[in-house]
Symmetry: C2
């Protein structure tokens, strides 16, 4: 007996294979996997190799009934999975009468949405790894899912190896979250920590990362912060129950970070990471993705290489921290399989009543506000053509916006003809800082616009 | 309508209060809290202050129907909770017709067990923070809970602020765990990191911790490792699905750790923490609670003060790390409330089908083995009456057990009359090490038995 909405004309049992010879299959929950790239193949490997433990933890097995890929003929399906239907047409997976959970791993926001909507229309639950679609339309898709009385799970959409969805949805659901910081793009973190470790420049580290397969040929989604932005949009929506529009999140990439910046950051006992921040302030919720100075003594500063991490502060539970691989077929596969187990358990227990993870939005206490209202100390790095009076002019621009200088830093061994130096300023608003930077824009001794980064104190 | 097993003679609606004036109450899930110490009062505070967000996340409110404490008359109940029944008799809470979930916060293994069994007998689910009882009898109590078709939740029993149960039960349930390391006793970690930070001795730091309320008047459960042992027993049972007998876990406390040991550990680029370890080896599962050297570069080494942390390595998901407050009314209260929300959701969705979190025990691949089979490099610290030939004699004892010396360390500024020095040895078995230490027992130049700590390499 499968709780599948059969359409007129469906013949789920037309297949003459005698099912009775597979006694467990009658109790299994059927899975269909659409998309057999890295994550899909990792998922199938875990479902095959770890089947015994999965079945014991659940009390019943998961059974892969159908798989779909544009190049399905070339894909190796683990022998332990038996002979699932292999197809290039995703509708065959969604329509398969024994598929109770549809795993959407094709990515993007077009076909993926069609797959999810088709599954919901047939009363089938969905597991997805699609950060882009969930960031854009997660709340709406959840509303449809609830209306269709299906479940939806998306652990794999953010920080593959870190079970941050389970943490926010269940582990600390009783807390009231104030602040969430994330290092959510492994490529950026790898590049930054390589610049820090070896003193190499951004371009050469990026090229190496591309050669090693850690970065895409077109690196923009990673190094310009858009991938991290999608992930922050999802996590902030879950943590604060707000509908977050990704394009509204202030986003700045890491292309301008140089070894010099790490030298100055270290002088200040800080380091630099691409920080995804969501902070409740008295005015509202501040969201940003940007390179930031964080104290070397904090646990986030210890996140190196392609790892991801999330740091959460709640009103009651204080600070907690979560760390793991951000991507990879197997870590992300664990997220997909763990979601499958949870959804399968709920299907078996016949539980249709659920609430959108975005449900607490109605409190309205976390409405996003513009980044110009951010208040922080800032690091300002200048490259100038040397001449007298530079500091005086910069200081005047800051003073005109009532910004106090905290310190001026200059590394001793720099070439005097192209002189990067740093001014740190006391906490001010981003708006005041922008106004001061606008005043500086006309100063002809600047070789490039100043690089401004917040110095995160609340970590 | 409440899914409560009514006994003949119960008169749940004899109370004449017109329930119709509280429209939400009809949809609420009723909670009874037994034990109003630190965790109980933290739980009530969160249920009161965070009620709006909890109700939105769940789709219905939680309602505290009854509270019990031996000194209930002296307890402040948050006004927002209304007027729950207040009693000194826990049976009144369990028997209350509107209580659907019983929260057991009395601790210990006698009354707590009675409470849980009485709740199960009435078909009521249980949330508990009881590490001792869960470590001793968790698997049996779970079997009873399943037979009674109730749910049981115990997030608060280990590492209060860290949602490690949610992580193991759901977040990474699809993985196959190889190794789990924990820093699970905040008092020990506070004492060790204060010794490290200030160079103060164990006794004086302990005394300060007692005066500040961080350590009990009788500190044995903490500093001798028994509290950590209970927590490791629970986490290892969840991670590996084995029935773990706490008394079988090799356990060693931190009383012998001195500032000198940190000096030597730092020379080796390591630090010292009370490490709870559960590792799968080719021979079986190795469990231990003991002070250990861990590399300074690892993320566990950054865990300071009263924080807890858990580091997990899975076959597929690689390493993940979880960090937060180990205790405290509010962090532990978050764990209790989050459990209440999950259990309430399952009650409302009418889902009785569940599996013990210890279910995968049947695989039998993780059977615990004796610590004598542990294989590690070791740190051996000696205090001796100085005379010629000491190193030669110690080296001979090690050589007799085929143990190779890795290095000999002596801090330069030590008083020659009472000379702590260190020998590190290459990986060997704990049995060989013990045999060598037995040979040394007769050497009259030793002021005290050598202090032996493993050097953890697999972190």
């Amino acid at each position: 007996m499968h709780p599948v909405n059969l359409e007129p004309g469906d013949q789920p049992f037309a297949d003459a294979t005698p099912r009775a010879v597979q006694p467990l299959a009658a109790q299994s929950v059927g899975v269909g996997v659409i998309g057999l790239g890295n994550v899909g193949s990792g998922t199938l490997a875990i479902l095959a190799e770890n089947a015994d433990q999965i079945a014991l933890k659940l009390g019943f097995p998961l059974r892969v009934e159908a798989v779909c890929s544009r190049s399905v003929a070339d894909k190796q399906i683990p022998a332990a999975l038996g002979s699932p239907v292999r197809t290039t047409n995703w509708r065959e997976v969604v329509d398969h009468p024994d598929v109770q959970i549809v795993v959407e791993l094709v990515g993007g926001t077009t076909v993926a949405r069609e797959i999810i909507e088709a599954a919901a229309a047939r009363g089938k639950s969905v597991v997805t790894a699609n950060k882009e679609l969930m960031a854009l339309s997660g709340a709406d898709l959840w509303d449809s899912a609830i209306a269709a009385r299906i479940n939806m799970a998306m652990e794999a959409s953010v920080a593959g190896g870190i079970p941050i969805h389970a943490v926010l949805r269940e582990g600390i659901s009783g807390d009231r979250i104030n602040t969430l910081y994330g290092i959510l793009n492994g490529t950026c973190n790898y590049i930054l920590t390589e610049i820090e470790r070896r003193g190499a420049g951004f371009d050469s580290v990026l090229r190496e990362a591309q050669e090693a397969g850690y970065a895409e040929a077109d690196p923009s989604a990673d190094v310009d912060g858009f991938d991290a932005r999608s992930k922050l949009a999802i996590l902030a929506a879950l943590a604060f129950g707000e509908r977050i529009v990704p394009a509204d999140i202030y986003t700045e990439g890491i292309r301008r970070i140089t070894p010099i910046d790490f030298g100055y950051a270290h002088m200040l006992r800080h380091t630099i990471r691409l920080i995804c921040a969501a902070r409740q302030t008295p005015d509202g919720l501040l969201l940003s993705v940007r390179p930031s100075l964080i104290p070397q003594s904090t646990i986030l500063a210890g996140v190196r290489g392609a790892y991801n991490a999330v740091w959460v502060r709640g009103k009651y539970g204080a600070d907690t921290f979560y760390y793991g691989r951000g991507a990879g077929p197997h870590p992300t596969g664990v997220a997909v399989v763990s979601d499958l187990m949870r959804v399968a358990r709920e299907i078996r227990s016949g539980s249709p009543e659920r609430v959108s993870p975005f449900a607490h939005a109605r409190l309205g206490e976390y409405l996003p506000i513009p980044i110009s209202l951010n208040r922080a100390a800032y690091y300002l790095r200048f490259r100038v053509k040397d001449r007298p009076g530079i500091i005086a002019q910069l200081a005047a621009a800051l003073a005109a916006e009532s910004i106090s200088i905290e310190g001026v830093l200059q590394l001793p061994d720099e070439d005097a003809s192209d002189l990067p130096f740093v001014i740190t300023v006391e906490p001010t608003t981003e708006q005041a800082l922008r106004d001061a930077l606008a005043r500086m824009a006309k100063m002809e001794f600047l070789i490039e616009p100043p690089l401004a980064m917040p110095i995160e104190a609340s970590l």
